[in-house]
């Protein structure tokens, strides 16, 4: 793979000679796209250069199949002159002959990616309160910046523009109902009831914005107490901004913690998001999208379970979802008001 990456980079960096790729690492943090990082060094007229890059490649089978990396690549290119923080994307390659599957290359951003989970000793990911609050403020304002992007002038219509927030909600329910059906391995009463609940409780019209689609702890890089980049734009689309809020505050990412994503108090999150110019908050819409968050995550898990069951992947991180699905159903049931969890 190293040789093929070197050949690809040589064709992309003008005037590069003696290009060498070293320290290729496969990262396991993401459950969907394959992620590799590597060091590239080369020479040109200006001298010697060394950079670290990241490749994100479509997996052979996975949680969000069928894959198409091009929309997220185009969105990230279009966001170049906005205050939204993300790793700069450099090249997209559609031809599977180059590296076995379509991929794109982006810059490496130095820092840590805190996960929404306790460590082995039971410590939360943000044990220092002042650090947590600093990151939480960034987290709230970056989301507002994403939602403020003028997607029309950026030419992001290609993502599919809903008429209004109600249309966006219907599209979202249809999308995840489709994933649920494709992942079906048997009857799923909880999913069926939840999808009907969503259709019975569609929110009214409202503004349509750019939606990250996976905005949460685990998808940003922290350096020196600040968020320096938001990652994982696979689910970026145009929709109701409350979708990101509902996903972000979902029980999925907070476990037993009082904080959304182990990071931010819900009221603080809403206040800071609004102070940063975010969309108008609506508790009922947020609730709708909290139910959708559970359905979406369960549908993603079902897709993985099916791929694993059919032998299209031996990645046990897909197979283990078969047992964890019960936890996701509990989260859906809680969001619908059927159960109360501690």
């Amino acid at each position: 793979m190293i040789d093929r990456i070197a050949k690809f980079l040589s064709s992309k960096i003008p005037g590069a000679t003696c290009l060498v790729v070293t320290d290729l690492k496969k990262h396991t943090e993401g459950f969907s796209l394959e992620t590799f990082s590597f060091e590239a060094s080369w020479q040109d007229k200006e001298g010697e250069h060394a950079r670290r890059y990241v490749i994100r490649r479509e997996p052979p089978a996975g949680l969000l199949e069928p894959y198409d990396l091009e929309p997220q690549f185009r969105v990230l290119q279009a966001l170049g002159d906005t205050p939204v923080l993300f790793p700069r994307v450099l090249w997209f390659e559609k031809d599977p002959a180059v590296l076995g599957a379509p991929f794109y290359v982006m810059e490496w951003v130095e820092g840590e990616v805190p996960l929404p989970a306790l460590d082995d000793s039971g410590n939360p990911p943000f044990p220092d309160d002042s650090l947590r609050l600093s990151i939480a403020r960034d987290y709230s304002s970056i989301l507002a910046e994403i939602h403020k992007v003028d997607w029309r002038s950026k030419g992001l219509h290609f993502l599919g523009a809903p008429r209004d927030a109600r249309d966006a909600a219907e599209r979202a329910v249809d999308l995840w109902a489709g994933y649920t059906e494709r992942g079906r391995l048997g009857p799923m009463p909880m999913m069926t009831e939840a999808l009907f609940w969503l259709r019975r409780n569609l929110p009214p019209g409202g503004p349509v914005t750019l939606v990250h689609g996976d905005y949460r702890t685990g998808n940003f890089i922290v350096r020196e107490g600040r968020i320096v980049a938001f990652l994982d734009w696979e689910l970026v689309h145009l929709g109701d901004p409350m979708e990101d809020i509902g996903w972000s505050v979902s029980r999925i990412w907070r476990g037993q913690s009082p904080y959304a994503g182990y990071l931010v108090d819900r009221a603080d999150f809403f206040r800071w998001y609004q102070e940063a110019g975010g969309a108008e908050l609506d508790a009922e819409r947020v609730r709708f999208y909290e139910v959708l968050a559970g359905v979406k995550m369960a549908a993603i898990m079902l897709t993985g379970i099916k791929a694993w069951h059919e032998g299209r992947t031996t990645d046990m991180r897909m197979g283990f979802f078969d047992q964890q699905l019960a936890g996701m159903y509990a989260i859906i049931a809680e969001a619908m008001g059927l159960v109360e969890m501690p």
């Binding site: 396991t28 996960l115 989970a117 391995l185 009857p187 031996t314 936890g327 509990a330 049931a333």
Partner: protein, 164 residues
């Protein structure tokens, strides 16, 4: 818990053989791994899901269906076929493969959920109360099943699964 236990065990064996064994450098660790594989392989034909767990779920769904059949009759011919199907399931003896019986009952429950949510059913206001009664039965089961399943759920090892 959608997959049969033998499929899960075979998957564990495949992953350990194809992804873990090949990456283990220490011979002592590989020896331990192969002993585990041998054990799982031999256990596979001798174990199954806990019967009490499946029975709790199947009897809970049976209660919902039993309570719903007379309510469905109140809607006239619209749900007659579904009512007969639920009756048939309830009358069939719960012997043999309990995992398969659970699947069949869950399918009936899903059909019931679809029926009371069918926009084409055009319920009149007097029928809304009946729909609510059925929905309450369904929600009662989903609530109890969620709690039952949660009791068996161990905390997810997300950090280790993500970072190795």
């Amino acid at each position: 818990m959608l997959l049969p236990l033998p499929r899960l065990l075979q998957g564990i064996i495949d992953t350990l053989e194809r992804q873990v064994a090949v990456a283990l450098e220490a011979g002592s660790a590989r020896a331990q791994l192969y002993a585990c594989l041998d054990l799982i392989n031999n256990l596979a034909d001798k174990i199954d899901w806990k019967r009490e767990m499946l029975e709790a779920e199947t009897s809970s769904i049976e209660e919902v269906l039993r309570a719903s059949v007379p309510l469905l009759e109140s809607f006239g011919p619209r749900f007659a076929a579904l009512g007969r199907k639920l009756d048939e399931t309830l009358e069939s003896p719960p012997e043999g493969d309990l995992f398969e019986r659970r699947r069949r009952l869950n399918q009936d429950l899903e059909d019931l959920i679809a029926a009371v949510n069918d926009p084409a059913a055009a319920f009149d206001p007097s029928e809304d109360r009946l729909v609510d009664q059925i929905r309450q039965q369904i929600h009662g089961h989903l609530r109890n099943q969620t709690i039952r399943d949660a009791l068996y759920l161990k905390p997810m090892m997300l950090k280790k699964i993500s970072q190795g």
